[in-house]
């Protein structure tokens, strides 16, 4: 029991992946956009962290920064660190980061059709990590690819392995992407909107598959989504992003049940079905800010129902509000009042 506690605390002290104060800028013809501004989070071995946010909030940029996939030369990391296994991915050359990719950190993408190469058989694409990274022969690599395809639930995999991506349905393509991503048994899987392009029923199947694989392999997962529902069942912790910053983070039940940032509260209130049928939807008024021209102070204040003049004065930093559960952090000067309104 004590040993378990010690192990737990040690694990808590050294997370698998630790992102600290990450800053990413995009140079556009209209000026410099700060896509990420001081993003920090940890991912522990085996856990699932959800990153939630609207388009442009910086959730996908976060994953691109980790995988060295920022579009060059426009996007670049200008500050902060991404610590993995004692290595700062933010400072390593791209080629070194790519070496780690697939073996240690893998990724699946939103659109599984465009993410698969249309002119190669899926077997060859799934076998590619084995051939390129492990130097396996073609036959052996294809045999391993076949196992993976069976594992992710491709029916009739022996025959389908020689098919091309366009011959599969959306859900099957995402399964193939997952097979490719888990080929080299990564310790972290980043799933960037993995079910956004899929039907609702297929969404549930894919999320179930990811959860199964996670239980089998013990890999950690960063689940990026704009859909609070998709995330609710699979993630243990959540980070909510707005205009390139994390504005609320904590255990998922705690955040969902007791949101303490007006934006998070607005998001949860806007879900249809959270209130009685027949009532009008309750969207958050206004639209996300332009990253080239952020409002002064808290970026959310122009849309915030409880904004006060002080909100304009300074960007609020993440803090643990009074009465909040351990690890629940909010970037709002009026967090306590949001909670008491509950």
């Amino acid at each position: 029991m004590t040993e378990q506690l010690v192990a737990d605390s040690r694990r808590a002290q050294s997370p698998l992946l630790s992102v600290r104060d990450l800053q990413v800028e995009f140079t556009t013809s209209a000026g410099i956009a700060r896509a990420l501004d001081g993003v920090s989070f940890d991912v522990q071995a085996g856990e699932t962290l959800a990153i939630l946010g609207e388009s442009g909030s910086g959730k996908s940029v976060t994953s691109q920064a980790i995988m060295a996939l920022l579009p060059k030369p426009a996007g670049s990391i200008v500050g902060g660190s991404i610590l993995y296994d004692g290595i700062d991915l933010a400072k390593e050359p791209v080629s070194r980061v790519r070496d780690l990719c697939a073996t240690d950190i893998a990724m699946i993408f939103q659109d599984p059709l465009s993410s698969l190469n249309p002119v190669f058989r899926i077997g060859d694409q799934v076998a590619e990590p084995f051939r390129r990274r492990l130097g396996m022969g073609k036959k052996e690599a294809l045999a391993r690819a076949l196992e993976l395809l069976k594992r992710v639930g491709i029916a009739d995999a022996e025959r389908r392995i020689s098919n091309y991506p366009h011959q599969f349905s959306g859900g099957q393509r995402q399964r193939i992407m997952i097979a490719m991503a888990i080929a080299l048994k990564p310790r972290i899987l980043i799933a960037d909107e993995p079910t956004t392009a899929l039907d609702v029923t297929v969404q549930a199947q894919i999320m179930r598959l990811l959860a199964e694989l996670q239980a089998e392999t013990g890999m950690a997962m960063i689940l990026i989504s704009h859909d609070l529902g998709v995330v609710a069942d699979s993630a243990s912790r959540v980070a909510i992003m707005y205009a390139g910053r994390i504005i609320e983070t904590g255990g998922i039940r705690e955040v969902y049940d007791h949101p303490q940032h007006p934006y998070t509260k607005g998001l949860l209130d806007s879900i249809p079905g959270a209130h009685a049928m027949g009532e009008p939807l309750r969207p958050i008024v206004g639209s996300p800010p332009n990253l080239l021209d952020l409002p002064a102070g808290c970026a959310f204040h122009p849309r915030c129902p409880i904004a006060v003049p002080e909100c304009r004065a300074a960007v609020p930093s993440l803090r643990e509000p009074e009465g909040a559960a351990l690890g629940h952090h909010v970037a709002c000067i009026r967090a306590e009042e949001v909670r008491s309104h509950d």
Binding site: L116, N117, P118
Partner: protein, 307 residues
Amino acid sequence: MLGYVIRRILLAVFVLWGVSTVVFIIVRLVPADPALLIAGDTATADQLAALRNQMGLDRPPLVQYGSFLGGVVTGDFGSSYTQSVPAMQLVAQALPNTALLAFLAVLGALVVSFPLGVVAAVRVNRPIDRIVTTGSLIVQALPSFWIGVVLLLIFSRTLKWLPSADLTSAQSLILPTTVLALPLIALLTRLIRSGLIEVNGEGYINTARAKGMREPAILFTHAIRNALIPIITVVGLAFGTLLGGAVVTETVFSFPGIGKLLVSSIHVRDYSVVQACVIVIAAAFVLINLLVDLLYAYLDPRVRLAK
């Protein structure tokens, strides 16, 4: 796949029939009497009538059309009246020369434009890319007769390194090949560059990166094949065009090819040779396009399995 091939071949035959018919009609619409041209102004009416009868010109048009089509199928277009040999024989002498020239030009263009396009795409918007892109724009804007004459002046007249005309040695191929290849190099370089840049933004390239593949490996496996698909069409069209119409270049260099044969036959109204040239050129063009379509299907499985 087999059904696709058969469909394409049937279509090619249909196109060739169409071309033959158009050629047949046009030649008969031209306001000149072939018999009069051959016999000359001094011929008597009887001589003309005898000649018309010998050439089959006094028969009904449909009968003429039938025997013409029969000739097309068997490769018999009648005799050249200027050289008194079968028209097909003249074409058969000229075509290999032109084919060699076109093949060398396309091959040279590919060999040169491929690395240029790749380098420009990899170093997009850097100085080397600017030089390559600007250079190809300039080359593409130059007319080929001008390039031909300038190259002749420099390398034949002034430096006396290369022969100026005819097909006498391997060296005599260098200048016409260069003239034909230059605009194609410019075009292909820009196409390969833009194709690679476009493909670079595709999701599967990011997937390959996330799989930990190095950029050169991504470029030469995932990117190239997708970027090449549209380029194949352009190369095929260029090759087909060169087979039929390197007219200007062949004239500038007095190159004994089919383009020069066609033009000189038109000048002297040697209709049987003109007909043979046009139909052979059309056949070559159709054949190349057929090959391009098949290659396309080979490279892009989506084409192969559609329909």
